[in-house]
Amino acid sequence: MSLTDITLTLRRRMLDVLVKTKGGHIGGSLSAAEIYTALYFGGVLRYRPEEPDWSERDRFVLSKGHASLGLFCTLAAAGFFSETELDSYTLPGSRLGGHPKRDEVPGVEASTGALGHGFPFAGGIALAGQLDERDYRVYCLLGDGECQEGSVWEAAMFAAQQRLGNLVAIVDYNKLQAMDQLTKIVDLAPFAEKWRSFGWDVQEVDGHDLGALINILNIPRQGREKPLCVLAHTVKGKGISYMENQPLWHVRVPNDEERKIAEAELAAAGEVQ
């Protein structure tokens, strides 16, 4: 299966699970589909699904924990648990909750949900790797709205000070937060300059361009002094027309008619290729 097909399959699965279980944040899961694909299927992350605690694995922390729908669909596709388990998402008896929990779900590095926690946690993992002279890399996916949290910038300063060259922050820069556009709430611009001024290397990329993402994310395992921030310009709700760029679809379940439209659009996207 091509990486494009994998991405499309992930989007279909996100929609399918959402409709079946009536749980999940769809907008910010769809926007990150290419990021998940690049990390798990584009040769970026080193991991062993049959040995999730493998000490040499690269670590991925989902700081925007509300996008667990996307993460779980990805982890299932990568073999950490079965695809059928996804159908239990957020339902009684399931270990797959609305936000990911470490120690309960194979492949989940951090229990997240409250914003501004996963990123500093990832900094701690990167520091441990550096202290122990290990060559694993730490990738952390943040929401753009999440970057309004002060703890994100505490962690950014600290990572630069400690020269955590093994740390990559990926911002799902879809320009929307729960209630509106970021520019209308608390704007982050100039966003790249902010990260640079905090001592980070910054790369801006079309977050739906798989080739570009893979190139940028595959940093060398050694020799880097600065942490890297990848500002991935994305579209919230990507792939389903009526969800794209609509704050309403931050967290919402499609009705029957909306579901049919979404399925038809994702099917058509497959035929176009």
Partner: protein, 310 residues
């Protein structure tokens, strides 16, 4: 307590390179020896406690044992959600070491006092809480915190406490200990105010009242057994703490006794009663200004005794 904590921490760090001394830019020179000897195990996170706690959880997730040290309100209140989510929910082996218990930072004012920390730390599932009364006990509690796998909150005073115990003193998680015998009333305390309670017991003895004193350096888990047996024996118990009455040691004792079906006799709680600490003075005088002086403790014990005898 501070220096004995640092001594214990340095010994632990020399034995185990995963033990990390983490600070949020406090203690200007007190870490010099540690830094000189173990520079790779010392991390100054700067004045950013939220990041320090979350990052410590990430360090612990990868085998490190971080000891986070700063003034109590900055640690337990500024970074409370980080303690709850990143340390406790994830059951991380992080040690939270707060300095400045109660109103020991007396004339620095209420921003630097710690009268709510026991309450908010003890409601966190999985959190263990130690509150030593003397330098020796702080040393032992630090070692016990390291030996315990899981989150620990270590509530320290400052560096001026007198030693109350001899070299044979023991510290055991979940254990209280009688530090004075007596049969008329039980006085229970935690932290450095234990010294004041012992003085109050002396005053009472001059009046012919025999008070036993229970030291409770382990607040969670709490030694309910020693308390219930002492209460049963004396029929009266006064709990004294340099903390808010609401939610503190006294509340914890009442919960424990109630759960054990051991609520009986006359019980009194002494501490800060829905108020911040008022005024400025050195530590001892400030406690007295706020109704927590040695004399106040003795008087309150007498009142309680009268209630028991009615």
């Amino acid at each position: 307590m501070r220096n004995s904590y640092l001594r214990a921490l340095q010994e632990l760090a020399e034995e185990n390179r995963n033990v990390l001394a983490c600070v949020a830019d406090n203690g200007a020179i007190v870490y010099d020896k540690f830094r000189e000897k173990l520079p790779r195990q010392f991390i100054n996170f700067g004045i950013a406690e939220a990041n320090m706690v979350s990052a410590a959880a990430g360090l612990a997730a990868n085998g490190k044992i971080p000891f986070l040290y700063t003034i109590i309100p900055f640690l337990t209140m500024r970074a409370y959600e980080q303690i709850r989510n990143d340390v406790c929910i994830q059951k991380m082996n992080v040690k939270l070491v707060g300095i400045g218990a109660g109103v020991v930072y007396a004339n620095l004012g209420p921003t630097h006092h710690a009268l709510e920390d026991i309450a908010i730390m003890r409601i966190l599932p999985g959190m263990t809480i130690f509150s030593p009364a003397s330098p020796q006990e702080a040393y032992l509690a630090t070692k016990a915190a390291a030996a315990h796998d899981g989150p620990v909150y270590l509530r320290l005073g400052t560096n001026k406490e007198p030693e109350l115990f001899d070299a044979a003193h023991c510290f055991e998680i979940g254990k209280g200990v009688f530090v004075r015998d007596g049969g008329d009333i039980t006085l229970a305390a935690t932290g450095s105010i234990l010294g004041d309670v012992l003085k109050a017991a002396e005053i009472l003895s001059l009046k012919g009242i025999s008070a036993c004193v229970v030291n409770l350096p382990s607040i969670k888990p709490l030694d309910v057994e020693i308390l219930s047996s002492s209460l049963r024996r004396t029929g009266a118990m006064l709990v004294v703490e340099e903390h808010s009455i609401a939610g503190g040691l006294g509340s914890s004792i009442l919960e424990g006794l109630a759960a054990a079906g051991a609520l009986t006799g006359a019980i009194g709680l002494m501490g800060f009663n829905d108020t911040f600490c008022q005024g400025y003075a050195e530590h001892g005088a400030l406690k007295a200004m706020n109704g927590l002086g040695v004399k106040d403790i003795a008087e309150r014990a007498e009142t309680l005794l009268a209630r028991k005898q009615r």
